[in-house]
């Protein structure tokens, strides 16, 4: 540490400011410590292994397909989150950074969970990138890594908003949350893979907290950046909704008939409902103060 650092750095937690437990990220942090501590190694896949053996070839293929989308998606969000954490830390937002450490830890657990399923249940060690179509590649091979890595050279509010829209609203909101909702419902309806059902329940709970943070972050940026920033968010969402919806329709186009009674309608209705509620909350931030946002963001 240089002499200059010694004179400019101040520590929040040894100042009268302390920690603000009323901030939404702090409420999320407390929840993460209570309910986000599940261990992927504790999931019992013994019945899943039996169930997998009884599935038809097309049923196994569709589950492998879905798992490959989830697996690479979770790896991508794990690899790509760090630049956002660094930006938030550099801005001195300690409470947000504290939650983001749990956020990243949880994403890493999701990676481990799906790889365990592939190794122990599906026993598949092939290259599953064959399931990654053009729309999936647009989102996970290009747009997400680019938007997140840009933060290493551009930490402006606009760049943060672009990153959060891509990561939270599109990847986690439209794709992961919708995928896990429908995946869990399908497994439960068919009474199969109880270990994976339990794991996906944990994933849904984790993702809900991540999305709540994304709504908070974007609302804060909009409250501070006004209409100009909102317009950029809208444009970014419009640009990514096509490939995001395409990921879902590509999956459905791959099977005829679709195994397990999966229905596109179920995916799109859930995705639309969730997207609408979040986007309306973020848009309202154009006319809200930070204090009002802290009161209204739901710490799920």
């Amino acid at each position: 540490m240089t002499a200059s650092d010694e004179t400019t750095r101040e520590y929040q937690t040894t100042s009268p400011r302390g920690l603000d437990y009323t901030l939404p990220p702090m409420r999320l942090w407390r929840k993460a410590k209570k309910i986000g501590i599940w261990n992927p190694e504790d999931i019992d896949f013994s019945q899943d292994i039996e169930d997998w053996r009884k599935l038809s070839d097309v049923e196994r293929d569709s589950l492998l397909h879905l798992t490959s989308l989830f697996q690479a998606g979770e790896e991508s969000v794990t690899l790509d989150l760090l630049p956002l954490i660094q930006v938030i830390a550099a801005e001195g937002r300690l409470e947000e950074e504290m939650f983001l450490t749990a956020f990243l830890w949880e994403e890493a657990k999701h990676v481990e969970l799906f790889r365990r399923f592939l190794d122990e249940v599906a026993n598949d060690h092939s290259d599953l990138a064959r399931f990654h179509g053009p729309n999936y590649r647009t989102i996970f091979y290009q747009e997400l890594p680019r938007a997140m890595s840009r933060l290493t050279t551009d930490s402006s509010p606009a760049a943060q908003a672009r990153a959060s829209v891509t990561y939270n609203m599109i990847v986690e909101g439209v794709l992961a949350e919708t995928g896990y909702f429908s995946y869990h419902a399908t497994l439960a309806r068919n009474g199969i893979l109880p270990g994976m059902q339990q794991a996906v329940s944990h994933l849904k709970s984790d993702e809900a907290r991540h999305l709540a943070y994304g709504v908070f972050l974007l609302s804060r940026l909009v409250a501070e950046g006004g209409d100009d920033l909102w317009r950029q968010i809208e444009e970014r969402m419009a640009a990514l909704l096509g490939p995001a919806i395409g990921v879902i329709t590509d999956f459905f186009d791959a099977y005829d008939p679709m195994p397990f009674g999966l229905e596109l309608e179920e995916f799109t209705e859930f995705a639309t409902r969730q997207f609408q509620s979040r986007i309306q909350r973020i848009e309202r931030a154009r006319h809200q103060t930070l204090e009002e946002i802290c009161q209204h963001v739901d710490a799920t």
Binding site: G242, E269, A271, Q276, I279
Partner: protein, 139 residues
């Protein structure tokens, strides 16, 4: 020449724009079905709507919507004047409009529209090329 939105003449010009649009024809080769766009009433205007019947890249019919048209349209999208202005100014992406609830899909499902995302965007682009005048802009 300007045409008041969602009138018969406006619909005819929209149909001409669609017929001239290669990107639309290419994107809509599998589209089968009709669409009604409804401008909801407010203090400035009464409710009005336009009906368009689309079939494999061709526009078979475009007119100001009758009550029967509204009852039989496969897809019905409703919104207010400010939102339609944004759509027809190419300022609001139709898929974002539908997902965000700014455009309300009151008949038909998003699942049935999603395979035609590119065609939907070309439909809107063609409509945006019509020299439009809105009810609150008429002399």
């Amino acid at each position: 020449m300007s045409h008041e939105v969602f009138t018969d003449t406006w619909a005819e010009v929209w149909a001409e724009e669609l017929a001239a649009s290669t990107p639309y024809r290419e994107a809509a080769t599998k589209w089968e079905g009709s669409l009604a766009l409804v401008l909801t009433a407010d203090t400035v205007t009464s409710e009005r709507a336009v009906f368009i019947d689309l079939w494999h890249g061709q526009c078979r019919m475009a007119r100001s919507a009758s009550r029967e048209d509204l009852e039989q349209a496969d897809f019905l999208i409703r919104s207010d004047l400010a939102t339609w202005k944004r759509v027809l100014d190419n300022d609001l992406d139709p898929m974002f409009g539908l997902m965000s609830g700014k455009l309300q899909l009151t008949r038909g499902s998003l699942a049935k529209l999603t395979p035609y995302l590119t065609a939907s965007r070309e439909l809107v682009k063609a409509a945006a090329r019509v020299d439009s005048i809105f009810p609150d802009e008429t002399p």
